[in-house]
């Protein structure tokens, strides 16, 4: 499957996910959503280092959630 085909599937999946999301959740109903376990990166800064490690050791560095700069024993 080519790059364009992958992108088409991703975009369609995202649009489908967002289309489902028209329900408005009021602040008072967000008790569960505000918990640390619901955060995209519940361990915060420790996960940032793992992202840096991946960006150094893998070809797919840079971009969303990835360090675009260098350093750190990357030779």
């Amino acid at each position: 499957m080519g790059c364009e085909a992958y992108m088409k599937h991703i975009v369609l999946a995202l649009l489908a996910a967002l289309a489902c999301g028209c329900v408005r959740v009021h602040q008072i109903d967000r008790e569960t959503l505000s918990k640390q376990i619901m955060q995209f990166e519940p361990m915060g800064n420790r996960q940032a280092f793992l992202n840096d490690f991946h960006s150094i050791r893998e070809g797919a560095s840079g971009g969303v959630g990835q360090s675009a700069g260098g350093g750190c024993g990357c030779n």
Partner: protein, 383 residues
């Protein structure tokens, strides 16, 4: 080190001056360590393939909420690490152990890297702006970088759109294999644009979708990456194109299964102009315990990539216009699993801060003979 001391002093001063009755400050010290091994490094300087690397990296994070709409944050880092291609460095030249045999003053030492990052985040009505800047320096690499991220909140924050631009003005100092010495610093620039949207689906589900485009130019080779040009002893520096365009798209989904348990699923697709295509899938579980004083995260990560079109594991027949044997650009899959834990014990009366302790253990294994154990220890204080 002087730069870090100046940064910490300036940040402390700014925090003191800006401190008000509202101010809340979080400080976190994380000590990261990496123990990497493997013999699949075809780029290794000495032809052994040895990619052993040990890294210790203490990082100090500070975040202070100055008022309802404004926070300042920063981090300072000091890495110390061995070579990934020769186990030992010449402490003056950064050359690997094998290169030291030519009469260089070989000392079994460690390289270091120091850096800092800082930023401000301010909310104006439905907008939030976050400018950031940073600097890092090591023997063969320097980075000056900055960026701006803007967020727009809609529908009582149910829908958030975010866009950012980041610029890296880096410099790399390659080791010239033929001359057995460093050349001067060469420029490497990176410009990155990203955008994402976050949508609350219901009281227990949230989803994020993002895309990014990154353009790199200048010296994109590894500072010590080499290729074989005949026998194992005949090696030359790798040569890569001076431009690389990268595109990525990712999606993140979180669902609360119970009040104390959530399921996370992350996916990322990546494509670049060097013909690398990559997929990353990472399911994880996050659980709280002891009245939310403790937090546990268990994750598995599967990564796969195709090889860069310029990659070759074997020897090149003489110097080519483009050539690399960097195992990071090879075709491979990687599996990773890990456990992360944090716990905030109940504080006593009169305590100056709320403390949180944490630890992580992660195992990473690549199909082209590279593996690593990553250990993390953290302590955080909230004032």
């Amino acid at each position: 080190m002087a730069a870090i001391r100046r940064f910490l002093f300036t940040l402390s001063l700014a925090l003191c001056l800006a401190r008000s009755a509202y101010a809340k400050t979080n400080m976190e010290l994380i000590v990261n360590s990496v123990y990497q091994s493997g013999n699949g490094g075809k780029q290794a300087f000495d032809g052994t393939g040895d990619q052993a690397l040990t890294l210790y990296e203490p990082v100090l994070y500070i975040n202070s909420q100055l008022d309802h709409n404004t926070s300042v944050f920063g981090s300072a880092v000091f890495d110390t690490f061995t070579s990934a291609s020769g186990k030992a460095f010449d402490s003056d030249t950064g050359a690997s152990e094998a290169a030291g045999r030519g009469g260089l003053n070989l000392i079994r030492g460690w390289q270091t890297r120091a850096g800092f990052d800082a930023g401000v985040s301010k909310r104006y009505g439905g907008w939030q702006l976050t400018p950031t800047a940073g600097y890092s320096s090591e023997l063969s690499y320097k980075s000056v970088h900055g960026g701006l991220n803007a967020q727009r909140f809609f529908a009582e924050d149910n829908f958030v759109a975010s866009a950012g631009f980041f610029h890296y003005a880096d410099e790399a100092k390659p080791w010239d294999v033929a001359a057995a010495k460093f050349t001067g610093f060469k420029p490497k620039t990176t410009n990155s644009l990203n955008a994402s949207v976050t949508q609350i689906l219901n009281a227990r589900e949230i989803v994020l979708a993002g895309i990014s485009y990154t353009r790199q130019g200048g010296f994109l080779e590894g500072t010590r990456n080499t290729v074989s040009t005949g026998t194992l002893t005949e090696r030359a520096n790798e040569v890569l194109p001076q431009r690389r365009d990268k595109f990525s798209a990712n999606a993140r989904y979180v669902r609360g299964l119970r009040e104390d348990l959530a399921f996370h699923l992350d996916y990322r697709y990546y494509a670049d102009s060097w013909e690398i295509r990559a997929h990353t899938l990472e399911p994880s579980l996050a659980a709280s315990f002891s009245d939310e004083k403790g937090l546990l995260r268990v994750h598995y990560r599967r990564y796969s990539q195709t090889a860069a079109e310029y990659y070759r594991a074997g020897s090149y027949a003489g110097i080519q216009p483009v050539m690399t044997s960097d195992s990071d650009l090879d075709k491979f899959t990687a599996d990773e699993g890990g456990l992360q834990l944090s716990y905030a014990p109940e504080g006593g009366e009169g305590d100056l801060a709320e403390w949180t302790w944490g630890g992580s253990a992660v195992y990473y294994k690549r199909s082209n003979d590279l593996k690593a154990v990553i250990l993390q220890f953290s302590v955080a204080a909230k004032f």
